[in-house]
């Protein structure tokens, strides 16, 4: 192993319980999650629908208050959104009144860390990184779904987060674009050297992108198993058809399926 890489994210015994005002019932969503992510890793989170994956990611971003346990990024305790984390939402949620460049610098504008020229330069670099050169002055409605998600990712990367949180960023894309974007994201993250947590429903997507995969149990969510992905780091889309890949896919699928009866729903492929 050599020198172990530094721990970026450290989650300890994280619990979260929703209290429903009307039914006066407490609904445990997160049932004690422990997870640590090393620098440069991409860890995917998969699990049955409605198990609390998004809630977990929101808690790591500090968007919601947790009931117990703690989240640390680079050793610092998280209790609200901070510049060390950036979120890529499922819906691209780009501001329609801002151009591509203006959307990308949004986080930087809020944080006021850079002057206008430096922001513009960083945005330009990111635009090239995500492959959107010549679209700087376009408005989101003039872009395709895949391009909008690139802008979404660039906007998150612009603040140079220690940890990137992606909540099913490709869910709304068509199958072809999705495959292509998986490949693009892998290249982008490798170049930006970002640590990332990635939620997805697509197991092959999780395997393709990740160093490890955290399989969540049904609600209240715990980590059922952490599956390391022993594939070479430089991945190609062709790998999805190799026996190792398919075996891994089957193994994770089985883990999720075991949880399906507990959610009260039959998960079909």
């Amino acid at each position: 192993m050599g020198v172990a890489p530094a721990t970026k994210l450290d989650v300890r015994r994280l619990t979260l319980t929703h209290y429903n005002e009307r039914s006066r019932q407490a609904l445990p969503v997160l049932g004690g999650i422990d997870l640590s992510v090393a620098e440069g890793e991409l860890v995917s989170i998969v699990g049955p629908s409605g198990c609390g994956k998004t809630t977990f990611l929101n808690a790591v971003d500090g968007l919601i208050k947790v009931s117990g346990g703690e989240v640390r990024v680079d050793g610092r305790l998280v209790d609200c959104p901070g510049p060390d984390r950036a979120f890529v939402f499922q819906h691209d949620s780009l501001f329609p009144w801002r151009t591509v460049v203006q959307n990308i610098v949004y986080g930087l504008e809020l944080q006021r860390r850079l002057d206008r020229r430096a922001m513009r330069e960083r945005a330009q670099a990111l635009i090239e990184l995500v492959g959107l050169a010549d679209f700087e002055e376009h408005y989101p409605h003039e872009l395709s779904g895949g391009m909008r998600q690139r802008v979404n990712i660039a906007r998150a990367l612009a603040v140079e987060p220690a940890l990137l949180l992606l909540d099913e960023p490709f869910a709304a894309l068509d199958a072809q674009t999705r495959e292509f974007m998986q490949f693009e994201l892998m290249k982008i993250l490798a170049r930006a050297r970002t640590t990332a947590l990635f939620i997805t429903h697509q197991i092959s997507e999780a395997i393709f992108l990740s160093t490890r995969i955290a399989v969540f149990s049904a609600r209240p969510a715990r980590i059922k198993e952490i599956v390391p992905v022993d594939l070479p780091p430089a991945r190609t889309l062709d790998m999805k058809h190799t026996p190792e890949f398919v075996a891994l896919e089957r193994r994770i699928w089985r883990l999720i399926e075991e949880e399906a009866p507990r959610t009260g729903m039959v998960t079909a492929a």
Partner: protein, 276 residues
């Protein structure tokens, strides 16, 4: 648009529809103009053939003649000036008060709680019912007309601004929060820009109400103005002069609506289905 057809050796199917749609756009304008001309011609003919009494309907030629006369002897300018003054004073006042108040009410729920009963009650009241009160308070001069135009215009502006500020896409709020936006930043970078379309809609609706305010206010008690012209000419059965007044008010309305559309276009280049 047709110039953007790709340069290929065969005629692309993309080129044909764009040419056809360009033709179709013009076609609509042509048909509209034509139907208007046919209508005016039939009107004129019906009067000349004595099928209808010009006392009731006037006729295009009579209206034109009346207009020329009124512009030539200068009697129309006083009416135009007075109405324009009332309109601009009242409408601008409604914007200056309505927009900031709407933003405050949309953003701060406490401010809204205090003012909402009044706004709801007044919005539901036909503003014309307030005319006698307005006249008691402001007399029959300029001030009462400004007040009635203001009362007509402010509520659509206010209500739409409130709605605009309040119905912000939850995703946008989440983005702002995730990037650590302060309340002030959230307001300036999310609430304000996303409420611009509703705000402009409010202005456009307010404009219509303001024009109604002019006419009604001047009919109730005035000595000059387009509404006064219409009322007095009507009482004297000078149908052609009534029509001149109506056409001028309508023209003012159309011109100002177009102006607002131009402003909207300026602000909403980002709108996906915005047609210039």
């Amino acid at each position: 648009m047709t110039a953007t057809a790709p340069v290929t050796e065969i005629e692309t199917p993309a080129a044909a529809p764009s040419r056809r749609s360009a033709w179709r756009r013009n076609e609509n304008v042509l048909i509209g103009t034509l139907s208007m001309l046919v209508f005016l011609a039939l009107w004129e003919l019906a009067v000349r053939a004595e099928a209808v009494n010009p006392l009731f309907t006037s006729s295009p030629s009579r209206i034109v003649a009346a207009a020329i006369e009124m512009f030539a002897d200068g009697s129309i300018y006083g009416h135009l000036r007075v109405s324009a003054e009332e309109f601009f004073a009242g409408f601008l006042l409604a914007i200056v008060i309505g927009v900031p108040l709407g933003i405050l009410m949309g953003w701060y729920s406490r401010v809204n709680a205090v003012l909402e009963p009044f706004v709801t009650a007044l919005y539901a009241t036909p503003r014309i019912a307030l005319l006698p009160l307005v006249v008691i308070w402001f007399g029959i001069g300029l001030a009462s007309k400004v007040a009635i135009v203001f009362l007509g215009a402010i509520f659509p502006i206010l209500v739409n601004t409130i709605t605009g500020v309040r119905t912000i896409d939850a995703d946008f709020i989440k983005v702002g929060r995730s990037f650590g936006a302060t309340d002030r930043q959230m307001f300036l970078t999310v609430a304000l820009p996303s409420s611009v379309p509703m705000l402009l809609t409010g202005l456009r609706l307010g404009l219509g109400h303001a024009l109604v305010g002019i006419v009604v206010g001047e009919m109730y008690g005035a000595t000059q103005g387009l509404g006064y012209l219409i009322a007095v000419s009507g009482a004297r059965f000078q149908t052609d002069r009534v029509m001149v007044g109506i056409i001028l008010i309508a023209g003012l309305g159309v011109a100002l609506t177009q102006l607002l559309r131009a402003i909207e276009r300026r602000f909403e280049r980002w709108r996906p289905d915005w047609r210039g």
